[in-house]
Amino acid sequence: MERNRHPRWARRAALATFMGITAASATASAASPGAEIWARTVSFFTLEYGFLAYTIAGSALVGALCGLLGVFMVLRRLSLMGDALGHAALPGIGIAFLLVQTKALGPIVLGATTTALLAALAIGAITRIGRTRPDAALGLVLAGFFGLGVVILSYLQNSASGAQSGLQDFMFGNAAAIQPAEVGLLGGLLALTVALVVALYRPLQLMTFDAVLAKTMGVPVRALHYGMMALVAVAIVSSMQSVGVVLVAAMLIIPASAARLLSDRFERVLLIAPALGAAAGVLGAWLSFLFDGFSSGPSMVLVAALFYTLALLFAPRRGLIAQRRQRQERLRRRDAEATPNAGESARRPHSAALGEAA
């Protein structure tokens, strides 16, 4: 049974992805003349410009990394934590720029990671020592840090030399501006994350599904939690250049949720989510290359949302269509049971019993 279902599931997933791409390209070609779109698409995927290799690799890595980490966040009910950490990276960018006065990658990544981590610690501390509710604590930290970031960025804008002009890219992302160093950083980060997930698979799985049980069995839940938050913070910060701080939460939440619809098995979800994320990343970068005014962040998020919608409709068992079919099947069985046609129900005693149970 298990072996039998796998190919069908794989076929459907492939079909869903394919339909997503088709739908995206259909909307794309509806918007402006097809020939030019095609030409630009070809030049995008054949890497006509040197920077495109970095753009594609970077976007795919961002999608895969966020998709993988997002699975844990979504399953642990921390979906909106990514939103808070993303917004909290903004003051770090500003402070780093204030201190070193250049847009060098190193200080900015360091600063943003620091404030994002501080935000994670602040959320933990607030809920522990005060009586503020967890959801409010999250919103409070998100908005407070973002407010501070706005203060610093606007201060820079009013005071400084104009060297800060590119800081705007960090809000909504500009995948074309991804630097080779960032691709290296993202690749290293993805490798580290995969290695950690493989090495700590059992404790992580246990913690994800039953934190209390994990604790009683001696899993260092708190250390793992903050370790994971650190990883998420670094991932968010390295995704800033392509997705932007405002929408990075979506890349954590949406591919993971879509993967969750497509499979009930943890290992498979852990494989599907990064795949969907990477696809959304590349297609989003492609859309933003095709059309003027499409920032890469929002484009990636919309492609991911399209994947989610397709999964919601066509997922093999949890999709709306499959569910409707199952319901109709149940109803038909009940009808067959109810009609005074003894031959029908006698021929299928098993399904009749099922119908009764339902």
């Binding site: 909106l80 409070l140 908005a143 407010g147 501070l148 909504f172 405002v246 939460a249 949302a305 989610y308």
Partner: protein
């Protein structure tokens, strides 16, 4: 020195008066609304609603070509309704938990709004920066009037329907048993949230309005034990952060909305620290008293 820092801004033109008026109105309406949302554990819905006001407004502009206040309001309210419907839909059929459902829906809609704004609605006078961070000093007259009307309406509604609101907030089941229209009250709250978001939009922007809604209520909840006190403390917190934020923004020459939010967050942090210290001190005292009474004789 003191004169220059504190008094002088009020004497040069009327912009300081205007800025403080605008931010106080935002603070009052958001603080009252936020208190009820906080108590109903809906703080993060404010996050979602504030974000989706943007696609609502842009879509309304694209469909009607007008940028009048009623169109914007209508667009944002519809977007709010669509959002809460979609969140419920994703929760039910997408087997997603509430937080994930909120995250999926509002980020997607917000991304859509940003793209529409930067492509088809470029000629709209909706500056992306302004939409995100707001501009307290750039609020137009008709927006100021809208803000004033909304604030007065919120205060009046809260005073008039205080008891039903209180009951529906703390115990919806009991309120329903008493025959109160709990669903209607909830819908009213959501509608007010949309309207307030739009009214505050120009002043503080889509993201920072979340702070104006959540922070005062969270601060008040640390101190207050009764709903009346909580509302008053929340309003006081909002007003204080509005005025102090204006000063901060003048001294640093930075965004006044950002400064308001930062001040508000600092006030929360101070309150949190104070209540924590007070609790520790009381606990220590109680321990001392216990030890003293445990001594023989």
């Amino acid at each position: 020195m003191l004169y220059e820092l504190f008094i002088e801004p009020w004497t040069i033109g009327d912009w300081m008066w205007r800025g403080v008026l605008v931010s106080s109105l935002v603070a009052i309406s958001c603080a009252i609304l936020g208190t009820f949302l906080y108590l109903k554990r809906l703080s993060l819905l404010a996050d979602a609603m504030a974000h989706v006001a943007l696609p609502g407004i842009v879509a309304a502009y694209l469909l009607t070509g007008s940028q009048s206040t009623p169109t914007m309001l209508l667009g944002a309210i519809l977007a709010g309704l669509v959002t809460s419907g979609l969140i419920r839909f994703v929760e039910r059929y997408g087997h997603a938990r509430t937080d994930a459902a909120i995250g999926i829906v509002f980020t997607s809609l917000f991304a859509l709004g940003i793209l529409l704004l930067s492509t088809f609605a470029r000629d709209a006078h909706l500056d992306l920066n302004c939409v995100l961070y707001g501009n307290v000093l750039g609020v137009a007259d008709h927006s100021l009037i809208l803000l004033a009307v909304v604030t007065v309406a919120i205060v009046a509604l809260t005073v008039l329907f205080f008891r039903p609101l209180q009951l529906a907030t703390f115990d919806p089941a009991l309120a329903a048993a008493f025959g109160l229209p709990v669903g209607l009250i909830h819908a009213g709250l959501m509608g007010t949230l949309s309207v307030t978001t739009v009214a505050s939009f120009e002043a503080v922007g889509a993201i920072l309005v979340i702070a104006a809604i959540i922070t005062p209520a969270a601060t008040a909840h640390l101190i207050a034990k009764r709903l009346e006190t909580m509302l008053l403390v929340a309003v006081a917190h909002g007003l204080l952060s509005a005025v102090l934020g204006m000063y901060l923004s003048i001294w640093l020459e930075c965004s006044s909305a950002g400064a308001m939010v930062t001040t508000g967050a600092l006030l929360y942090a101070v309150t949190l620290g104070a209540t924590w210290a007070r609790r520790r001190w009381r606990r220590a005292q109680r321990r001392q008293r216990l030890q003293a009474s445990a001594l023989p004789g």
